[in-house]
């Protein structure tokens, strides 16, 4: 509970009071730490590469892609719909390295499965980014207001958070997904974001509760800054670590949430595709036409893994004493908050960010 304890683990406070930006040194430090984390860097690079790859292959919106097929047109069955991708060179007894007509095979009515998988990656990444982004924004706003104003505002907002957290994400996601699935992927992603912001809100609130007691906030207030300005300009930049990290982990769990929902049939609805949808549609192909099952599965696991690595790297970058617990609950007690507030779960963000699978 002590402030000594606290300050040892938080980003160092900015040196110049009233300055709009946190110390540049800190940002640079974080960036350097992150850049030095090879695993996270490689992961981030791979995620971006994968996404760019899909854009190059099948285009995005009005942008045309290079790949000869698109994901919704039906093509005549080629080689019985089998995957034509060949990675074994001829001298190893294979058919030579080549893509063939339909590298990942064809769906049963003849759509090109490679294009569908690429489209699925785009949509899954889209859902992930929207849930991660919108969820983080909503969570940050609620957490910031609650943590800054404390008192009844805090109580109301946190009880509201509790209301949403009482229902497992997958369950409320299934209910929401069923409503939204048919209305398009945008709608689905935004609605899912509206039910997954809670962990972010709790962590941001905890951070705000602590930061608002700092001297630089007091100084800004004395300097005549309004509440909104203090929140946005003085505290938020200092809480940016928590925001980014919890947002990234939220995004990682969002991929699995979308997958799980689609698996149960409540997510993205055809003819639109997503990785989860593809797996769900081709479950029974598991043993018989494995390429229909395993390609999307590989991409789901890969994406989730990479985003998790990025999140982990970011966390380490923001909190150099990596993987550390802060063995204390919320500092809010000091300010009259409830000692037992659940919002004070340890800030290592994993469990709260997990989607139920």
């Amino acid at each position: 509970m002590s402030d000594q304890n606290r300050s040892a683990e938080s980003p160092p406070p900015p040196q110049e009071f009233g300055d709009a930006t946190p110390a540049r040194g800190f940002g640079a430090l974080v960036l350097r730490r992150f850049l030095r984390n090879r695993m996270a860097m490689v992961s981030l690079f791979l995620v971006l590469l994968l996404w760019l790859g899909t854009v190059v292959a099948i285009g995005l919106g009005p942008l045309p892609g290079l790949w000869k097929h698109d994901y919704s047109t039906l093509y005549p069955q080629h080689a019985g719909g089998r995957a034509t991708l060949s990675l074994l060179p001829v001298w190893l007894g294979g058919e030579g390295i080549g893509l063939g007509e339909h590298p990942f095979g064809q769906s049963r009515i003849g759509q090109d499965y490679f294009a569908m998988t690429m489209r699925g990656i785009q949509n899954s990444v889209f859902v992930m980014v929207v849930i991660g982004g919108a969820g983080t924004v909503v969570g940050t706003v609620i957490g910031a207001i609650a943590g800054y104003y404390r008192g009844w505002v805090d109580a109301v907002l946190m009880r509201m958070t509790d209301v949403f957290i009482v229902i497992p994400t997958l369950v409320i996601g299934a209910v929401v997904g069923r409503t939204a699935g048919g209305l398009g992927i945008w709608f689905l992603a935004v609605l899912l974001a509206l039910i997954s912001w809670m962990p972010v809100a709790r962590l941001v609130r905890a951070e705000f509760l602590s930061l608002r007691e700092r001297e630089f906030v007091e100084a800004a207030r004395v300097g005549g800054a309004g509440n909104a300005r203090i929140i946005a300009v003085h505290i938020l930049p200092n809480a940016v670590g928590v925001v980014i990290v919890s947002g990234t982990l939220l995004a990682a769990s969002a991929i699995l949430l979308e997958t799980a929902l689609s698996y149960l049939g409540y997510g993205v609805q055809p003819p639109e595709v997503s990785l989860g949808r593809l797996i769900s549609d081709n479950q029974s192909a598991f043993a018989t036409r494995p390429w229909l099952y395993w390609w999307p599965a590989v991409f789901i696991v890969g994406l989730a893994l990479l985003v998790n690595f990025v999140g982990d790297g970011l966390r380490n970058a923001f909190d150099p004493r990596q993987h550390r617990f802060r063995l204390r609950r919320t500092p809010g007690t000091r300010g009259g908050g409830r000692a037992s507030s659940r919002a004070a779960a340890p800030p290592a963000t994993e469990p709260e960010n997990r989607s139920e699978r």
């Binding site: 048919g182 055809p270 003819p271 598991f286 018989t288």
Partner: protein
């Protein structure tokens, strides 16, 4: 420590089961998997009207007018198969239509009570709606006054014109007299749940129940009477007393007339049926116990079959299901289901008021391609369905297809479509269930083809398609009908103005007359002729296109012998009493 926890977890897991006797009865037992769990032991009321409930009651009694414990079942060609050991049916006269039902001698319910014509009287009371005096709102079907006693899943049509039946003095026969001819009179099956159980429910003897029923006046919606309290109690018991997924403590609920009786139910898991030794054909049944396990996921069913947890399955059919099963050492049976998917055109919509546009659109539908990609992988012998009324198992199918001209629409004819459109590019919104992969794929195929002819296709896919179906905000719809495979009662639903299933606002005076005639005709040949005429007339009106019959797959291991494919509602268990265990 770990060991302790293991024991602890075990203790937790075992505490809900009680000790029982030895369990070596498994050797003459057959286990099959079904998709949905049992919810009720009475499938004939509106709550219990689910396929799985019906399958159980088909074996124990009678469900949707078929059952081994009643007068008839369907054979593999959807033809009535009389159950002589239960009783016989005899048409006494045509005008007025009089039919006599006679039970076989010495029939007993599974609890030893005799099966008599009072049981038939009760079945008639339930299915005729005799006492109902409710006034129904014509549009919504809601009750606006009076009482509906038995909440039937089926319809009272036909029996509602009968008079109070005459009971034979031998206690085994009952005669029905119809005020109007009724086309489906042969499907009437006056055996239902046991009358003595109902009598018991209201503390009457069987004789008192008989007198009580005989004294009930015919309900008159114009002058609703006071609610008849004992009848209300009986009806409530019939309506809701059999619902539930746990083994009932009340033994009356499992009294059976058929070859099997329910002896155990584990909620959402399984139901166990045991041979009913009082069934007249019991000695011919070669096994003692039938267990139906509920496994929702098709792949889980296949794994369970592979792991020998079940002996037979009928999973949702797909090419992958079939291939997965082919890799196992099991027998696979494929065929068609009676339900079929079809494309309907909304006659009230802007583009399709015009017959030429309708025809142009239908000309673009690649029915063969849809069949090839959806059905053929499962059932290589499948052919495009060419009738809105018959399935190929029905004898008149051949004649009807020869006349209705659907076969000209097997392959798309884009040139003809363009010609008919004359350069117009109508926008067509297609409604379908986008949670059903078959419909999604049909839609994709139709869209691809129709756009080449100049149509602009709007994707109307929605999980709420069923609500949207009656709202009419679409130009075409793809959905499926589930059919009983026999009978003519659905004709007015589909093809007359105001019919409950006429979502596409079809209207043709000539067809109306034909439908009307069909419902009152007693001559099977004439009924079939009328149906062929209707099939042809609707086809000529470019009503829409039948697409395909859903494929079905059964698979069983070599423990079981005698399973036959059946695409109707009774599904895999249609010939269950004929199964046997292979000698191993």
């Amino acid at each position: 420590m770990l060991a302790g926890l293991a024991a602890g977890a075990l203790a937790l897991s075992a505490c809900s089961t009680d000790d029982g006797g030895g369990g070596a009865a498994g050797s003459r037992s057959i286990t099959i998997a079904a998709t949905n769990p049992l919810t009720s032991l009475n499938s004939n009321n509106s709550e219990g009207n689910l396929v799985e409930n019906g399958m159980v009651q088909f074996l124990t009694n009678q469900s949707s007018s078929f059952g081994y414990g009643s007068f008839h079942i369907l054979d593999e060609n959807f033809v009535l198969d009389p159950q002589e050991q239960i009783g016989s049916v005899e048409q006494l006269s045509e005008d007025p239509l009089r039919v006599r039902y006679t039970l076989a001698e010495d029939l007993e319910w599974s609890n030893g009570e005799p099966i008599t014509n009072i049981d038939m009287l009760f079945a008639w009371l339930v299915n005729s709606g005799w006492a109902d005096d409710a006034e129904l709102d014509a549009d919504s079907g809601e009750v606006t006054g009076g009482t509906v006693y038995f909440a039937l899943a089926g319809s009272t049509t036909g029996l509602d014109t009968t008079d109070m039946p005459e009971l034979g003095d031998d206690g085994r026969s009952l005669t029905l007299t119809y005020a109007e001819p009724y086309v489906d009179w042969e499907l009437v099956n006056p055996i239902d749940l046991p009358a003595h159980v109902m009598a018991d429910e209201v503390d009457m003897t069987l004789e008192e129940l008989e007198t009580f029923i005989r004294e009930i006046p015919r309900g008159d919606p114009a002058a609703p009477a006071q609610v008849n309290a004992p009848l209300r109690a009986i009806a409530d018991f019939w309506n809701t007393g059999y619902s539930g997924n746990e083994m009932p403590e009340d033994e009356r609920l499992t009294v059976a007339s058929g070859p099997f009786k329910v002896v155990d139910m584990v909620p959402m898991q399984s139901v166990t049926l045991q041979k009913n030794d009082r069934y007249p054909g019991a000695d011919d049944i070669q096994f003692d116990e039938l267990v139906i396990r509920f496994i929702g996921d098709a792949n889980a069913q296949i794994t369970a079959l592979r792991n020998e947890e079940v002996d037979a399955i009928y999973p949702q059919a797909s090419a992958d299901t079939l291939t997965a099963l082919e890799d196992l050492d099991v027998t696979i049976l494929t065929g068609d289901e009676v339900g079929y998917d079809h494309l309907d055109l909304n006659f009230a919509s802007e583009p399709f008021r015009d017959r030429d546009t309708r025809e142009a659109f239908l000309r673009t539908v690649p029915r063969q391609q849809i069949l090839d990609s959806i059905v053929k992988p499962v059932n290589p012998d499948a052919e495009v369905l060419n009738s809105q009324i018959f399935v190929p198992e029905n004898a008149p199918y051949a004649e009807s297809t020869a006349r209705n001209g659907y076969d000209a629409f097997t392959e798309p004819d884009l040139d003809r479509a363009r010609e008919l459109l004359g350069g117009a590019t109508p926008t067509v919104k297609i409604l379908y269930n986008n949670e059903n992969p078959n419909r999604v794929d049909s839609f994709q195929a139709i869209k691809n083809s129709a756009e080449q002819a100049g149509f602009v296709i709007e994707d109307g896919g929605s999980p709420d398609w069923s609500q949207l179906l009656s709202a009419g905000d679409y130009d075409a719809s793809i959905f499926g009908w589930s059919m009983p495979g026999i009978g003519s009662a659905s004709l007015p639903q589909l093809f007359t103005v105001g019919g409950g299933g006429n979502y596409n606002n079809y209207s043709n005076a000539e067809v109306e007359t034909l439908v009307d005639e069909s419902q009152r005709s007693l001559d099977p040949a004439r009924v079939e002729e009328i149906k062929v005429l209707i099939d042809t007339a609707t086809a000529t009106d470019r009503f829409g296109l039948p697409l395909f019959q859903l494929p079905g797959i059964f698979a069983h291991n070599d423990r079981v012998v005698g399973i036959e494919y059946f695409g109707g509602q009774q599904n895999i268990i249609r010939n269950a009493p004929e199964w046997s265990l292979s000698a191993q």
